[in-house]
Amino acid sequence: MELTTTVTVDEENSVARVALKGALNTDTAPGFEKRMQEVMKGGHQLTVLDMKDLDYISSAGLRVIFKAAKEANAAGLRMAAANRKPHIDKVFEILKALPDMAVFANEQELDDYLDAMQEAARE
């Protein structure tokens, strides 16, 4: 199964949204890692991984996500995961290795978070 990555950037709020579709496995992980590195170069305050259409993730894929999250934290940036499917969630739980990243169950939670962030920026 292939992985399709769609990146949309909201420059105003400094938010990059990475939508994952398909399978993030050993085969697709290297490509995804390159893609993430490009996205990280943008230096956005928040990078959201939208897993709404992600059907499958393996430890190789998790490794890429964790690595990106760690780099983001080191740079003082934030990373978040949104819309994880139950079986994706299960993999995260089994490995009990949730990196320091925000997790949003659905679009609403994400929007609320973004709003809160914008308000904080205005103050």
Partner: protein, 784 residues
């Protein structure tokens, strides 16, 4: 070889040391005794010399004294004219050569001559001379000898003086006053008679006392004037002039006084002329009372001793040198064969049995040692030759046995490890002999819709059992073609086996005939262990009517049992090598463990379940050798309309490996119509395993990874097989520490968590040079 510690060196050192000590002690004792003897002889010699000189001198002086006293006596008693006195005086001097000169000095009132009368005869230049001592120039009445003799009133030796009136030499004089009596009986001095002795002669006489180069005699007058000594210049001088040291002077004074009183004394004091210590012995002459003695250097006296000492030392040293040389030669000679033997034994130890040994001569310990070595070498050679022959025989036998094993395995349908698939049933069988060859057997044959199955166990094991087994299986193969009734077949087989079986070999046998349509199994048991039946999640040993073991007697009958098999059943027929396997504690495996194992693997395909039981038996036995042949046949009856899913695939390494695997898995499992979640989890687990194998198993780039899947409605089992480095991920993998930073996780450490979390059973084994990892996911969760 360490020369510093060799026997040779130690022997040489020890023997030389012993010789040195012995020679040294001997020389010391010898030296001590010789010194004592030498000193004693020196003492004796000097004493004798002194005595003889003194005796000579005493005799001489006594002679002078007695002749003078005789002359005085003659004059006292006879009246001579003055010329008569002269004549008698001349005769007296002439006949007595010891006397230097003599005088008769009349008292002044006994002569008519105004100046007195004193004729004097003396020797000078070998001639006898005359002189008159009566004269103004040498008036004898004023001379010490005259006055001393008169005042003493008796004979005396006058202190030495220089005689100017006659011989003009240093002399001493023996003076005897002659008294007569007048008619009235009054005593008056008539004359003084004298005899002179030259000091030079005394000196000559005394110096015969020379002891050694620096020894000399010494003679003193009563007043201490030196009459004779080493240096003639000292004559007439007082001895006290000679000493500068107070201490020496005091010593001399003491000795001198003691000698005057007639004692003989010895003292050590520093030599007068020259360095070193000298010994002084001082006594006195009886006739004159003069102290006389001898002085000699002790060093000089003991010089011969020192010479002797040096000589002995040198002799000792050279003796020691010769001794050491002799010791070296002898030791080398003795130990040379030993060194050669040591070298030879080194070579023998390295396997060179042709190493020459030193020649053994004589019959000493070394020769015997060499002979023993030679014998050992000989024995070793023949032993090695024997061993080589035995090894050759053994490897030939092993080769034969290995060929026999191949032949025996070929007798079992496909080579002792069989799988017979059929739409209604599946059969799996395996025999594992305890030795190269064995007596367990199985046979199956399908004739139309009839399946003939035989499982047997020949008594004993090894070659005899194998031969009997060969016979049995040939007969069974013949029977299988026609047999419908197990009882009849078994009776026929028994009769055939019993004929000509003088060794009383026998075989226990399970013989079954299965109708593949009705699933009815008719079977007979000739003393064979009852089979186990797995049905509906339970296992039971069949209750069977059984006949005797085959081959012992003919014309026997065997009861037939009938069993209706059902779909999903599994029948396990095995030999007693299974339940009677022993472990190191001599504990039996037992039917209980056997059934447990079979029950645990009931959902696995028969090949895997069978292999599991064999593995379990091997683990149980541990290092204990397999005690009996093991045979197992598993017969699976297919479930109701359910055909077990079986699939296999080989995946070459390279790009898209996990995608290809995932695609295969999805396609193969599609008939099961698994929920997406289950399929996703299976895909994930398989991907984790395959990607880990791909990355870390060290496979060649052209190698491939084999996957097989088996599934039914209850479970899915997937086996992943790779020929990589032996590695059990379930035990050896360093699991990632959950919750810790991911980059710290060990290689593949996260995947193991996923594998164990997402599947229900995992097993690993290493077989056929492959890592075989098997995971099972239950489709119907059993309540715990």
């Amino acid at each position: 070889m360490n020369r510093g510690r060799s026997i040779t060196t130690r022997l040489i050192a020890l023997l030389t040391l012993c010789a040195a000590v012995i020679i040294g002690v001997g020389m010391l004792v010898d030296f001590h005794l010789s010194r004592k003897a030498l000193l004693a002889s020196l003492q004796r010699e000097s004493d004798e010399t002194i005595r003889s000189v003194i005796v000579d001198m005493e005799q001489w002086l006594e002679g002078v004294k007695s002749s003078t006293l005789l002359l005085a006596r003659v004059i006292q008693q006879r009246e001579y004219s003055e010329s008569g006195l002269e004549q008698i005086l001349r005769d007296s001097v002439e006949v007595n050569p010891d006397i230097l000169g003599a005088a008769i000095a009349l008292a002044p009132d006994q002569t008519s001559t105004e100046l007195g009368f004193a004729p004097y005869y003396f020797r000078k230049g070998g001639q006898l001379h005359y002189n008159s001592l009566a004269g103004s120039e040498h008036n004898y009445q004023q001379q010490a000898w005259f006055l001393d003799a008169v005042s003493a009133g008796g004979p005396l030796w006058v202190e030495p003086y220089y005689d100017a009136a006659g011989a003009e030499v240093l002399m001493t004089t023996y003076a005897v006053p002659v008294y007569r009596e007048d008619p009235a009986g009054r005593r008056f001095l008539y004359a003084v008679v004298t005899a002179d002795v030259a000091l030079a002669e005394l000196h000559d006489n005394l110096q015969r006392l020379g002891l050694g180069r620096s020894g000399f005699g010494i003679l003193l007058s009563r007043s201490g004037v030196i009459l004779s000594g080493r240096n003639p210049a000292n004559i007439m001088r007082h001895y006290s002039d000679k000493f500068s040291s107070e201490q020496d002077l005091a010593t001399w004074q003491g000795m001198f006084d003691a000698a005057l009183q007639g004692q003989v004394v010895s003292q050590q004091l520093s030599c007068i002329d020259g360095p070193g210590q000298c010994v002084m012995r001082l006594g006195s002459l009886q006739s004159t009372g003069w102290p006389v003695g001898v002085m000699y250097s002790e060093d000089e006296m003991t010089a011969p001793l020192r010479k002797f000492q040096l000589k002995t030392g040198l002799i000792g040293f050279f003796t020691l040198l010769l001794m050491a040389a002799a010791v070296i030669i002898v030791t080398r000679r003795l130990t040379r064969p030993l060194s050669a033997l040591a070298l030879a034994s080194d070579r023998i130890a390295q396997g060179d049995l042709e190493a020459p040994l030193p020649v053994a001569s004589g019959n000493d310990e070394v020769a015997r040692l060499i002979q023993s070595f030679a014998a050992m070498k000989r024995d070793l050679k023949s032993y090695i030759a024997d061993l080589e022959a035995a090894t050759a025989r053994r490897s030939r036998l092993e080769g034969e046995l290995s060929a026999a094993r191949d032949i025996q395995m070929a007798m079992l349908p496909p080579g002792g490890d069989a799988v017979m698939p059929d739409e209604n049933c599946q059969l799996w069988a395996r025999v594992l002999p305890a030795r190269s060859v064995g007596g367990d057997l199985y046979y199956y044959q399908r004739r139309g819709r009839v399946l003939f199955i035989a499982v047997g166990d020949v008594s004993d094991k090894g070659v005899p059992a194998a031969l009997f087994m060969a016979r049995a299986i040939s007969l069974i193969q013949q029977l299988a073609v026609t047999a419908d009734n197990p009882g009849v077949a078994m009776a026929t087989l028994n009769d055939a086996l019993a004929s000509g079986n003088d060794n009383c070999m026998f075989v226990t046998l399970f013989l079954g005939v299965l109708n593949l349509d009705s699933l009815e199994l008719q079977y007979g048991s000739a003393g064979h262990t009852a089979p186990s039946l797995l049905r509906g999640g339970a296992i039971n040993s069949l209750v069977q009517a059984q006949g005797p073991a085959m081959g012992l007697a003919s014309k026997l009958s065997f009861p037939v049992n009938s069993l209706q098999l059902q779909p999903g059943d599994r029948l396990a027929v095995f030999t007693d090598g299974v339940d009677e396997a022993f472990n190191q504690e001599v504990e039996m495996f037992g039917l209980g463990r056997c059934n447990e194992t079979l029950l645990a693997s009931r959902t696995l395909p028969p090949a895997i379940a069978g292999a599991d039981l064999f593995e379990r038996l091997a683990t149980f036995a541990g290092s204990r050798p397999q005690s009996d042949d093991i045979g197992l046949v598993l017969l699976d009856i297919a479930g109701n309309g359910e055909t077990p899913l079986k699939a296999g695939g080989e995946f070459s390494r390279g790009p898209g490996l996990t995608s290809r695997v995932e695609k295969w898995l999805h396609e193969e499992l599609a008939p099961l119509a698994l929920p997406d979640e289950v399929l996703g989890e299976l895909s994930l687990v398989v991907e984790e395993i395959v990607s880990n194998v791909d990355k870390y198993a060290g496979l060649h780039k052209d190698a491939s990874i084999a996957l097989s899947a088996q599934a039914n409605k209850r479970e899915v089992e997937i086996e992943i097989r790779d020929a990589g480095l032996a590695f059990n991920p379930l035990e050896e993998a360093q699991r990632a520490n959950l919750g810790a930073p991911i980059e710290n996780a060990e290689i593949g450490g996260m995947g193991v968590h996923l594998i164990t979390a997402l599947t229900d059973r995992q097993s690993y084994r290493r077989g056929d040079g492959c890592n075989i990892l098997r995971i099972t996911k239950l489709l119907i969760k059993q309540p715990d």
